[in-house]
């Protein structure tokens, strides 16, 4: 489903070109569980942002569901993000003035889904993630675990094919972190491809495919893939 071919990404820092990714080749199929590990600055997050279409490669091609998405314009890319990609961030990124239910509803509002349908889906998600009694609470009234659950509910509200998680447990304690990982792993049953950046080897080792990155290159892949 996801095909990266010789993907590179370099940034200009001052008057120097810094390569964040060098010639990445990567294939990820629907339902794959991939963890990306490596020291900080190894290009993990850049890779994730590229896959999430938040960033464009400097060279190379990125095909999603067979189509070359690097050539799409802003509006088309936004549409792909809306329909196929879900994000879960380390810092949750909930809109502080909106309630939990409204945060979950947000992607559907942006996609222009009818209010009745939105309401139905929000109800279901709140129930699935055990947030029924927290629906009208704003993020600052929620615990970290609850916040990340809201974020996961939000990421799945548009039924994405790929879920990208950037250090999803980074701001959580061990117990809630494990709960969150459990919730994310449940999505695999729905054939969602889960790609998770982490530097926690315990969490990373749970993935079927474990990719190790150093200096913008994939140095090894363990586990059974493809």
């Amino acid at each position: 489903m996801i095909q990266l071919e010789k993907v590179s990404r370099s940034f200009t820092v001052g008057d120097q070109q810094v390569a964040a990714l060098r010639g990445i080749d990567l294939n990820i199929a629907a339902g794959d569980y991939v963890s990306i590990m490596g020291p900080s600055g190894s290009g993990k997050s850049t890779l994730l942002n590229l896959i999430g279409l938040l960033d464009r490669p400097s060279s190379g091609t990125y095909k999603l569901d067979g189509g070359n998405v690097t050539e799409l314009d802003d509006v088309q890319q936004a549409r792909v993000r809306s329909e196929k990609i879900g994000f879960v961030f380390q810092a949750f990124h909930l809109v502080p003035r909106l309630t939990a239910a409204m945060n979950i509803e947000l992607p559907m509002i942006l996609a222009g889904i009818a209010p009745a349908e939105r309401k139905k889906r929000v109800e279901k998600l709140l129930e699935n993630y055990g947030l029924m009694d927290r629906a009208d609470h704003r993020p600052d009234q929620l615990s970290g675990g609850q916040r990340q659950r809201v974020a996961i509910a939000r990421a799945t509200s548009m039924h994405p094919a790929v879920l990208l998680a950037d250090e999803p447990t980074g701001n959580l304690d061990q117990t809630t972190g494990k709960e969150v990982i459990d919730l994310l792993e449940q999505l695999l049953e729905q054939n969602v491809a889960l790609i998770m950046v982490t530097h926690d080897p315990v969490i990373g080792s749970r993935a079927k495919r474990q990719i190790h990155m150093v200096d913008g290159q994939i140095i090894s892949e363990t586990g059974s893939g493809t």
């Binding site: 942002n49 999430g52 938040l54 960033d55 802003d74 509006v75 890319q77 936004a78 549409r79 993000r81 809306s82 329909e83 990609i85 994000f87 961030f89 990124h93 809109v95 502080p96 003035r97 909106l98 947000l106 992607p107 509002i109 942006l110 996609a111 222009g112 209010p115 939000r154 548009m158």
Partner: protein, 402 residues
């Protein structure tokens, strides 16, 4: 994204920062209110003048001696350079025009009005019975000048309200005799109280038959001929007829000026409308200032909400949607600001109306529309830049809060 959702999202983010929102609404509404109040004042002044003019009489055409190239009162007349005077016969001749309803020849002079030991200088108006109608005067007690041959003098006079009070106090004036210069006149009527109209205090006038005035001042010319047209539509016809008649009677010489009340009124109207526009324009500048304020605050808002903008992008909002959200915020702010401003403006106008009751203060509809339009326009215009900036944010950097 649905329109209702855009509006809801925008109003949600405005409510999310009430202080900022209130300040912007305040700035906007002060701008709108000042446009409304200032144009209301200008329009009030215009209406005041228009009313003054119509109190002078309706459908008036005025013939004055002397020729001026432009309409209005020329220097020649002020200096008394009269090539040929207008006579009572000229006035009667004008009556031949079928468009003319009635005329009132006018002679003006000053004389000493006295009764027993009391005396004062007064403006004496020589005219005919029709003056009452032509000039929309009101009669208090008694009768106005008797109708009849305008060449016939009669020793009768009509006193202005104040003249009557000064000479007679609470006594009965009608039937009494007063002296104007060296002639005796019997008071046959007293004018009703009318105050000032166009600088002439009718309360301080004495009106006598035009022929008597000619004898009193030893003249034969007329100061004005006031002509009332049969209707508004034939004013131009009357003007033309009067010019023609005078032209013929004065041996082909164009030595009189015929002006219409409308022309004078139109001039005042233009001047005062320009004035209203000018003050309205000055007030509109404050709206532009409010627009700049909105731009500033919106830029700060973009900076404060980078993470949210980055998130919206990650969740599938294209740049134009983010732009639309910021536009919606600006539009909402401007709309609320306009409504509050209109309320303030109308309240202010009413207050001015209370302070100056004689001024018919009411904001003209075009100013109200323009104020709201400019408010919306500047609000949206000045949010273009911030909205663009938001839309162009790099999502990765925005999410990281950079």
């Amino acid at each position: 994204m649905r329109l209702a959702d855009v509006a809801q999202f925008a109003s949600g983010s405005l409510r999310g920062n009430p202080t900022r929102t209130l300040l912007m609404i305040l700035a906007m509404s002060i701008g709108v209110a000042s446009v409304v109040v200032l144009t209301a004042l200008g329009e009030g002044a215009r209406l005041y003048v228009v009313n003054q003019f119509s109190s002078l009489g309706t459908n008036l055409v005025i013939v004055l001696p002397g020729r001026t190239e432009t309409a209005g009162i020329g220097p020649g007349m002020l200096l008394g350079q009269i090539p040929r005077e207008i006579t009572l016969d000229d006035a009667e001749a004008i009556l031949r025009s079928r468009a003319v309803k009635r005329i009132a020849p006018l002679t003006v002079g000053t004389a000493t009005l006295s009764r027993d030991a009391l005396n004062r200088e007064v403006v004496v108006l020589g005219s005919t019975s029709d003056l009452l109608e032509v000039r929309h005067m009101s009669l208090g007690i008694g009768k106005f000048l008797p109708p009849g041959d305008i060449h016939e003098s009669a020793s009768v006079c009509v006193l202005g309200n104040q003249m009557k009070r000064e000479l007679f106090g609470n006594e009965q004036a009608v039937g009494q005799w007063v002296r104007l210069g060296d002639r005796g006149f019997r008071v046959i009527g007293v004018l009703g109280e009318q105050g000032e109209s166009m600088g002439m205090r009718t309360d301080e006038l004495v009106i006598i038959p035009v022929a008597s005035a000619h004898q009193l001042f030893n003249t034969s010319g007329l100061f004005r001929i006031m002509i009332e047209a049969k209707s508004r539509d034939v004013i131009d016809q009357v003007k033309h007829d009067a010019e023609q008649i005078m032209f013929q009677r004065h041996n082909g010489e164009k030595d009189v000026t015929v002006i219409t009340q409308d022309a004078v009124l139109a001039t005042f109207d233009r001047i005062l409308t320009a004035l209203t526009l000018a003050v309205g324009g000055i007030a509109a500048i404050s709206l532009a200032v409010a627009g700049v304020l909105i731009m500033n605050v919106m830029l700060i808002a973009v900076a404060q909400r980078v993470k949210e903008i980055g998130l919206l992008k990650a969740l599938g909002a294209p740049g134009r949607q983010i732009r639309a959200l910021f536009f919606a915020e600006a539009a909402l702010l401007s709309a609320v600001g306009s409504v509050v401003g209109l309320a303030l403006g109308y309240a202010g106008s009413m207050l001015v109306g209370k302070i100056y009751p004689s001024l018919p203060v009411s904001p003209p509809w075009w100013a109200v529309l323009a104020a709201c339009g400019i408010a919306m326009g500047t609000g949206i215009l000045f949010s273009v830049w911030p909205a663009r900036r938001a839309a162009q944010l790099d999502p990765v950097a925005a999410l990281a809060g950079r």
